[in-house]
Symmetry: C2
Subunit: 395 residues, 2 copies
């Protein structure tokens, strides 16, 4: 079980929400113009359901919330019930609880390189070490992972405690794992009894094409912990997410929650919003807006930053740019910020990016993540232009 680290997490998190001053291409902040109207749902939560909404709630979450999440997961192919669901204070809280359940100080976990940068300090705060596996166009390189695991076995090193991945519109790379890769990952993880943490906040934000089955839906042996969130389905300010896993794990996670239960008021607002049919129109609005933002950013990057290589993502929030060797995106990001736009240098997304690590030298310095979620299309254009101007000034 869990230990927590001896150092503070320095979350690199969203720092510069879009404002009149700087064009925010760094954060995964939502586009405020598509925030839904929750007033009716809130009014019901605070009148009809007042005595439930304002009272302490179960650590598992409200029953109708758990039922809704289970149905949502079933509609996505997972064979689960409400007993497989616990409501948490956002997916990051979910990841922390999974760590508390599964890991001890000094354990190893598998992450992709690059990986979701906010996960890194959370994992590190539990004293974890990282097994970093590359991705290709089909997602996490399972052949490489198998080799790394076999090597660890030969070296008499313990198996990692879990595999963390973002299989849909990966953050930051934008890659969606192919079906055969998902099957290979599950087969490997199952054969070695290594849990998989499937963090898939962007799954419904697909602009074109069709979804691959979720890892959870392909899971026959109960090794997948699926993390969910309402941050992308409704709005991040709610701070509600979930874990979907085997029922006995859910019971143990509930025992690890020391928060007095996730806010029942907010859960009820969500339940009522969905009861009003709020989900699908909201997802349609989000898809339309983010799809447009993506198109504008791709156009702008192709026009103004022709040396940057990227794979156009079919969903999600981000473009992952590879600049020519020799471009130090750390310097570029810093100067761009001074010029009025805030991208994120790619090295924040590599778990081994630790000054004390021998691997630190090996981290590629020519990647950059641009978020198209928060800024308006016009500001996306201007932001990319500013970034291009900054790059030119460095040549």
């Amino acid at each position: 079980m869990q230990t927590l680290a001896r150092r503070a997490m320095r979350l690199p998190g969203p720092l510069h929400p879009d404002s009149a001053d700087a064009i925010s291409l760094d954060s995964g902040y939502a586009f405020p113009e598509i925030f839904p109207d929750l007033t009716r749902a809130a009014a019901r939560a605070l009148t009809v359901f007042r005595s439930e909404s304002l009272q302490y709630g179960s650590p598992y979450g409200l029953r109708p919330m758990r039922e809704w999440i289970a149905q949502y997961m079933r509609d996505d192919g997972a064979a689960v019930t409400a007993e497989n669901v616990i409501v948490v204070n956002g997916a990051k809280h979910g990841l922390e609880l999974i760590c508390r359940l599964l890991v001890d100080d000094g354990d190893a976990v598998v992450v992709t390189g690059p990986t979701y940068f906010t996960a890194i300090p959370i994992l590190r705060s539990f004293g974890l070490t990282f097994i970093e596996v590359p991705q290709d166009e089909e997602g996490l390189d399972v052949v490489m992972l198998a080799k790394r695991l076999a090597q660890r076995e030969r070296d008499r090193l313990p198996a990692p405690k879990f595999i963390y991945d973002v299989p849909d519109f990966h953050n930051p790379s934008g890659i969606t794992m192919s079906l055969r890769r998902r099957q290979a990952l599950l087969a490997l993880a199952t054969s070695r009894s290594i849990p998989i943490v499937e963090d898939s906040p962007y799954r419904r934000l697909r602009f074109e094409g069709s979804s691959e089955p979720s890892l959870k839906s392909l899971d026959r042996s109960g090794i997948v912990f699926a993390l969910g969130t309402f941050s992308k389905l409704i709005a991040p300010g709610l701070r509600i997410g979930w874990i979907c896993a085997e029922a006995d794990s859910i019971v143990r996670i509930a025992q690890l929650k020391s928060d007095g239960g996730t806010a029942p008021m907010t859960q009820r607002i969500i339940v009522e919003f969905f009861a009003d049919g709020g989900l699908e129109p909201q997802i349609a609005r989000a898809r339309a807006a983010y799809g447009e933002h993506r198109d504008r950013m791709i156009e702008a990057v192709r026009r103004d930053l022709p040396s940057a290589v990227f794979t156009p993502p079919h969903g999600g929030y981000y473009l992952w740019l590879r600049f020519p060797d020799g471009i130090d995106t750390g310097v570029l990001a810093e100067r761009a910020f001074e010029a009025g736009v805030s991208p994120i240098a790619g090295n924040a997304f590599f778990a081994a990016d630790d000054p004390s690590s021998a691997r630190a030298q090996g981290i590629p310095s020519h990647y950059m993540r641009l978020a198209y979620s928060n800024a308006t299309p016009d500001r996306i254009d201007r932001g990319v232009k500013l970034l291009a101007d900054t790059l030119r000034s460095m040549e």
Copy 2:
């Protein structure tokens, strides 16, 4: 800094909210009839402030929320500003963050015996050991604490990492620490540089008499971490609390928050509710209701359980009963629950109540906590009567 324990916390938390089936005298659930109307505040949070309420927020909390809390603390005598405040997901989350900031596995902390039972598994989950100090009518026995600390020094044991106490309407004992005892505790803690965690959720729920100065207001050296919550000022279902401490500690605590910020929507609802002048009328309602509940319970206990000894509390939620030696309140509570009323046996409130501990034998088995917060006065009457019937059937 922090470590987290190797065992699941088994929170004994509120289990039986008042229902048609069982009379809940165990939980610290609020009285639902006094829940305020938050619909106007919520409507403003979700319209005027929509783009802030539904976006990610700062880990420190909304600026106006921090300002409000700082003013509230200043009105209560503490010399603090918003920089001394961080908003958290309830006071339990605050205690957890303080542990992550201050403690390492195997450290000791000071608690009263008895102490707030939900704090025990949280503290234990960090691998802490307990220095249990008794209380008298003036609160924590500071002379005894000084002796214990001196003995540890002679034994070359490290000083405890903090002192945890509930100085106002102590949970469960109901005792409010006297001014001179507060001064003595602060003098001792300051001389030994031991932080104090002042957990005071019930402070404004005083039915008669006047408050003693808070430990935070008497603190001249910045060693007090004050925990606050809106659970008793408004309603527990909001799950919002705060820590008030030195500004540099607040910065470090913010780095330890992995939750993506405490829900801005809920913070804004609170800010708007207070802007409407909601606080004082709500506190007046709560005082009136809980004062009446206390009176009814005291009357009922004196009438139906004359062998139970207690100090009438001047505020808060609980009566702490001492039954005659030989009464095993564990058995009594179990049988009472079968009869339709749910008290809590007192041994849950002693930190050393651990089967593996040598001290386990020393824990008094004849205490019981009754909460008068959640049940209606009539149900309080019936609950105490059922408890008395159960006790008689054991004789």
